[in-house]
Amino acid sequence: MKYIFAVLWSFVLFASAFPQVAKEKLIEMKIIEKLVRDITGRSSAEVYIAGKDRELFEALKKSKIIKITDRPKKAEFIIILTGNTDKQYSRPSFALGYLAFKNCRWCIGGLYWRKGRPQLILVKEKLEKFGIKLPEEYRFYIIREKELTR
């Protein structure tokens, strides 16, 4: 777990060198990159973004791990943005933003900001559904589905 935190905060540190607008997006990009790598087990993967977030798009475009695709079927990983939770994808989907996470009950997890802290939550049942096994360091972030609604 401490590695995840180290990564999370090192992202915060790294991002501090960039303009403030892009900072959160960069942290998000780094977390997504790590997640994609750990889920797919590959050093690069095609990702589809459901929704429009120009800053995120620009940030991911620079990533060496994530290859953005406009064809969800071809993608190995789907990012769901707020307001785009209606359509369900056959690929592991990950919500970005609190509302997207709250509304996307079929997502494997979500990443959002609360009280100035990045909040990464992964849902055990959804991960299992896709046969995703994550390293031990994710343990703290993996919760049961029923715990979401308590």
């Binding site: 915060v12 609360r114 100035g116 972030y141």
Partner: protein, 639 residues
């Protein structure tokens, strides 16, 4: 060249500057080194002070909520909407610009959840999962164990600067936590203050470095300039400036004072030119330097061709000083200066003072007196100053001159045919109460080469000029050495005399010392002749006399040496020589004078040799001026 004493390089001002710069530098360095620690300390102190205010307020608020919840905060806040609202109300007074977020979380089976969010923005729903930072998780487990409140600092967050986490206990167990997130602006404000100190320390550091560099620069510059000011550019030995500085630091009685003078240096300059003369001085300086101990002794260029050596005395030092002087003489005598194409040996004379002196001037005066003796005794030798020999005598002479115990007797030079006075030779005397009068043979040799001699010469000129001005029909002869004629201050006194007076003064240039440059002396004498003075060459025929005078000097009188006149009575060669010189002088309209005319026999002899004038006891013994002021005694149409 390195300085053996520090002189005043480290002036009070410079030392203070240096200390100030160093203190400033150390302070700057200290602050610079400890900036992170100081920053951390200042930051924590300020934040702690700030947080303590909120600590108290939140304590009160929590107490109020606990009271409302009858101690069961978690359960009641989950179930009691009224309490939930009441809590919002109670905590609403806390939220402000500095408190960014305020909320209570509780521990729920490995997860943290929001119990109530009291923040004004980014509100979380009750029961929503909260993922604390790794630092916070560690603190939370600490709080679980200790039950104490803690503050967490968020170094990397741009939103929250610090979080005060307070435990909420139920039945003595920590059940929930109140999170007070302070905005990053607070930290930033504190950081700005601390940063100011950082900048200040940088500034102090830079200023102190600049100060140190400036001090070092001025120090080096001073050393360089002092070096220039203290070292003789030609010989590269110390000069009088350094000597003056050094004298502030040393006891002169710990040193033997040796004055070394290059013999016949003027001749070297005149014969080989000044360039060669300079080379000789350089070499002599090098040889002197190599003859003394570099760590204890000093060498200075004291005058034109004069060097002063300060040789540190040992306890039984006479032998040691002798060794140094012998080394000097050996090295100089054996060194081939190789002037021009021929091998040239240079010699020096030295005067040594090795006793107790009142001060430096006293020591130099004594060494100078010994040097003079070395010169007088034939040069190329050294003489120690002997306390009983010259010095008290010099003091006595000085005292007599100071008290104006000086008077003149006059001996006439008489026309051998008319027996009338042509002029009176002024003969100086000192009045010594105990011993009566002192004649020149008693004191003149002792004071030759010292300031007393020139003092006495000036006095003789001034007194006799007054007499000539007083008695308008008399002529007076004043004895001068060639060196007096070349002495600028004596010459200026002579030149200031009006022409009519000068025309009645005979300057008898006494040929009793070696003359380095006849051409120089001739030039000076010619100038005086042009000023109206009558020029006589005294003591012609003595051991020192030189035919250069006869050939090149436009003299008016030639005075034969007394020895030559005395010999002429019995010695045919002397008689013949006088005859020939008289004949030569007549051709060139030079009047000849015979000294030592003691009796009629000598008078007859010189008359037979056609000598013009005579002087001696036969005519008159030296006497006071009153004896000769009668105008009838005087030749009226003589030269």
């Amino acid at each position: 060249m390195t300085y053996k004493v520090h002189l005043n390089f480290f002036s009070k001002e410079r030392v203070l500057n240096l200390i100030f710069s160093l203190v400033l530098f150390l302070f700057g360095l200290l602050v610079y080194t400890y900036i992170p620690t100081v920053e951390e300390f200042l930051k924590n102190s300020i934040i702690k002070a700030f947080i303590s205010v909120y600590d108290e307020i939140t304590d009160n608020a929590l107490s109020a909520v606990k009271k409302e919840a009858s101690g069961r905060i978690i359960y009641r806040l989950k179930t009691d909407k009224n309490l939930y609202n009441k809590t919002q109300e109670i905590f609403s007074i806390i939220s402000g610009s500095q408190v960014k977020y305020l909320y209570i979380i509780y521990h729920d089976d490995g997860l943290y959840r929001f119990l109530i969010d009291l923040s004004k923005e980014d509100r979380a729903e009750a029961g929503e999962i909260f993922v604390p930072t790794i630092k916070e998780i560690k603190i939370l487990s600490k709080i679980d164990k200790t039950g104490e409140k803690y503050t967490v600092y968020h170094e990397d967050s741009e939103e929250i600067g610090a979080t005060l986490i307070k435990p909420i206990k139920e039945n003595g167990t920590v059940k929930a936590y109140l999170f007070v997130d302070f905005s990053v602006q607070l930290i930033e404000a504190v950081k700005k203050v601390v940063h100011f100190f950082g900048i200040l320390s940088y500034f102090v550091l830079i200023v102190s470095i600049v100060f140190i560099f400036l001090t070092a620069y001025f120090f080096i510059k001073t050393v360089y300039l002092k070096n220039k000011a203290f070292v003789d550019p030609l010989t590269k030995v110390y000069n009088r400036n350094y000597l003056n500085e050094l004298l502030k630091f040393i006891d002169i009685n710990s040193y033997a004072v040796i004055l070394v003078d290059v013999d016949f240096f003027k001749k070297i300059n005149d014969t080989f030119g000044h360039k060669v003369g300079d080379e000789v001085l350089k070499k002599v300086a090098q040889l002197l330097k190599s003859s003394i101990r570099s760590d204890e002794d000093y060498i200075f260029r004291f005058g034109g061709e004069e060097f002063l050596l300060l040789v540190k005395k040992d306890r039984n030092d006479r032998g040691q000083i002798l060794n140094v002087v012998n080394r000097i003489f050996d090295s100089i005598r054996n060194f081939d200066f190789g002037l021009g194409d021929s091998q040239v040996r240079i010699t020096v004379s030295a005067g040594i003072f090795n006793g107790k002196a009142k001060n430096f001037e006293d020591a130099v005066k004594k060494a100078d007196s010994a040097l003079y003796r070395a010169k007088r005794e034939g040069r190329n030798r050294y003489e120690f100053y002997i306390e009983d020999a010259d010095f008290p005598y010099l003091l006595q002479i000085n005292e007599l001159i100071e008290k104006r115990e000086v008077f003149f007797e006059y001996q006439p030079v008489v026309d051998l045919n008319t027996k009338k006075i042509v002029y009176l030779e002024a003969l100086i005397r000192l009045k010594n109460g105990k011993e009566g009068q002192w004649k020149p043979d008693k004191f003149l040799d002792t004071i030759k080469g010292t300031f007393l001699y020139s003092k006495l010469t000036k006095l003789a000129i001034e007194e006799n000029v007054k007499l000539v001005e007083k008695y308008r029909h008399i002529k007076i002869g004043i004895n001068l050495l060639p060196s007096d004629v070349a002495n600028s201050s004596i010459k200026s006194i002579l030149c200031s005399v009006d022409r009519k007076t000068a025309e009645r003064i005979v300057l008898e240039v006494v040929e009793t010392e070696e003359v380095a440059s006849f051409s120089d002396i001739t030039k000076h004498i010619t100038q005086l002749k042009k000023a109206g003075y009558i020029i006589a060459v005294d003591d012609f025929g003595s051991g020192y006399s030189n035919f250069d005078y006869l050939l090149n000097l436009e003299m008016d009188y030639l005075k034969f040496n007394s020895g030559l006149i005395a010999e002429a009575v019995t010695n045919r060669r002397s008689e013949r020589l006088i005859q020939m010189v008289v004949q030569f002088c007549k051709e060139f309209n030079i009047k000849t004078i015979a000294e030592f005319v003691e009796n009629q026999q000598v008078c007859k002899k010189i008359l037979s040799l056609n000598v013009d004038y005579g002087q001696g006891y036969y005519f008159s013994k030296p006497a006071g001026i009153e004896k000769y002021v009668d105008i009838a005694l005087w030749e009226t149409n003589g030269k």
